[in-house]
């Protein structure tokens, strides 16, 4: 048996499965063995569903039909997705202490399982996705496969580390203001945040409902297209999903970028940015020119207000969404309460970590009588202007090219205890969330000294996933970044 099966992409594994060169059991076992051998160092998985995965694999082998590209493909799903009867905790003590097992399944996991994808377990995340490093997870930090002294990023850090370390073939994550793209970039993966409403969020724990999205983290752009084609589309269980036809995104990957208009926003090349990151992104722009694309400088003038807008809107919606964790219908409980109000206080105080409390309180303040206009309403107006920046830019360009993050993965603990420093680093990622635009990261190089992956970010207009996928694919095919693997 080929001991490197876990390193295959979805497309490669599918071909081997279909030709019966490998079995689904062998593929699943290879991922499990890999996870058993490397995850002690990384802490990417917070729940392992290996026995059930092997049972599923046997069933699929017995049927012997690999009709869908995802049939028999092992994946990891972020812990804020509900899987029926499987512990789903959002990596929060509020749900962990009672090991919450939902009586329902998220639409995204249901859709990939319906075609035979195999769930290996749950990926670590910041508590209810609030963070950019998985340091706020109740299970502890996930470490970067390229350098375990560094973070894998967040909030979908467990998913990105699991894909980057070949513990699975793909992962499903969620992205509110960068939570798929930043960790995917840190771990040398491709990751896509879809247009708001492109993928159903039914069964995914809400953080900030006007921005939350679901998307894939994969080893190649083609794999992203495969997973997105499977999970996208209208869902009667999520009223925010758009009634927009879902193309077969793999058909968009023709690799031709001749005449493609690419914009480089001047506001995204800032002082204090890592020099190697800037060079890698500028080199990628040159590569696009070589392939026939037309690169121009553009401006997104309200960029400097994006982080402030985000950190009003998100905590406000957090304060509302977190009110459901009151210890009544599910979650942490206590028998020390003297009455109902005391019970709410104790269940929430004992269950939530500091970042969640911080956001709940900012949101409670921002939404309280007399402050709503100055904070939430004002932020929603600035959000209109940020959205308009992108609409204006897309009058003249097809794709916007930027760095995914100002630095490579940072050292564990480096930004802890300084919430604003952590927030400010989100500068390149939150605008796409605020404007509902799709964005994705692909590897565009490594730092020279410590070989950390660098991410290239492509933004497209709403519902324009096909355009950014093709551009990312053309670039990926011209380079060999994705062939490099961490030495674990």
């Amino acid at each position: 048996m080929d001991s490197m099966l876990h390193t295959l992409s979805i497309a490669q594994a599918h071909e081997k499965l279909q030709k019966k060169e490998i079995s689904c059991t062998e593929l699943t076992k290879a991922c499990i063995d890999r996870a058993e051998s490397v995850d002690k160092k990384l802490n990417a998985l917070v729940y392992r569903n290996f026995e059930r995965a092997l049972e599923e694999a046997k069933k699929i082998d017995a049927e012997g039909e690999f009709t869908h590209l995802l049939t028999g493909i092992p994946f990891v799903v972020k812990d804020n997705f509900c899987e029926k009867d499987i512990p789903s905790t959002g990596c929060s003590n509020v749900l962990r202490k009672k090991d919450y097992r939902p009586p329902f399944e998220s639409t995204a996991t249901a859709r990939v399982k319906a075609v035979g994808a195999i769930s290996l377990g749950k990926g670590n995340t910041d508590e209810f996705t609030m963070g950019a490093s998985t340091e706020t997870s109740c299970y502890g930090v996930t470490r970067n496969p390229w350098d375990p002294s560094r973070v894998a990023g967040g909030s979908s850090g467990g998913c990105a580390a699991a894909v980057g370390a070949d513990e699975c073939l793909f992962a499903l994550g969620s992205d509110t203001g960068g939570s798929i793209r930043q960790p995917a970039g840190f771990c040398g993966c491709s990751g896509l945040r879809a247009t708001y409403g492109r993928v159903s969020r039914y069964g995914v724990m809400s953080m900030a409902s006007s921005l939350d999205t679901v998307g894939p983290i994969c080893k190649s752009v083609e794999d992203i297209a495969i997973v997105l084609s499977t999970i996208a589309g209208k869902d009667p269980l999520d009223g925010t999903t758009g009634d927009v036809p879902v193309p077969d995104y793999t058909k968009a990957l023709h690799g031709d970028v001749k005449g493609l208009k690419i914009g480089l926003p001047k506001e995204y090349f800032i002082d204090g940015m890592d020099e190697q990151v800037e060079k890698a992104v500028r080199d990628a722009a040159t590569q696009f020119e070589k392939m026939g694309a037309v690169v121009t400088d553009i401006s997104l003038p309200h960029t400097e207000y994006a982080v402030a807008t985000y950190y009003v809107i998100v905590p406000s919606e957090v304060s509302s969404n977190m009110s459901r964790y009151d210890g009544i219908r599910y979650g942490h409980t206590t028998d020390a309460a003297t009455d109902l109000i005391d019970y709410y206080h104790l269940a929430r105080t004992e269950g939530f970590g500091d970042e969640v409390k911080r956001r709940i309180m900012i949101g409670t303040y921002a939404l309280s009588a007399g402050y709503y206009d100055a904070y939430y309403r004002k932020a929603q107006k600035v959000r209109t202007l940020i959205r308009k920046d992108f609409d204006d830019a897309f009058q003249n360009v097809d794709v916007i090219l930027t760095p995914t993050y100002p630095t490579p993965a940072f050292i564990v603990g480096a930004l802890e205890g300084d919430p604003i420093a952590m927030y400010l680093q989100d500068i390149f990622l939150v605008s796409q969330g605020l404007s509902g635009m799709p964005g994705m990261t692909v590897p565009c190089g490594f730092t020279s000294q410590n070989t950390l992956p660098i991410g290239l970010h492509l933004t497209g207009p709403q519902w324009g996933e096909d355009t950014i996928l093709n551009a990312a694919y053309a670039y990926e095919q011209a380079m060999d970044w994705k062939e490099q693997k961490p030495n674990l």
Binding site: G239, A308, Y344, Q462
Partner: protein
Amino acid sequence: MTTLNHDDVRHIAKLARLNLNDEEVKKFSTELSNILQYVEKLQEVDTEGVEPIAQITGLTNAFREDEVEDSLIAPEDLLSCSPLPVVEHQIQTPSAHG
């Protein structure tokens, strides 16, 4: 400059149903004030005549036919998620009156 003093923080925590000890009140007073001072940056932006975003892809309402359908989840399964006692298909909470 907006700052939240210790009493402000205690009041907000009470509204949010959170208990804070004195040390936490002190810590959050500094952190929350810093965040509010940072987001005050938004006041610089001229938003005269700008409509706030209502729904980012322009959806208005999502209606369906008003037809009775079977629930996807059995009520018993939802009730069984509660950490509190279930009595006659209802969750028994601590008393609202102490």
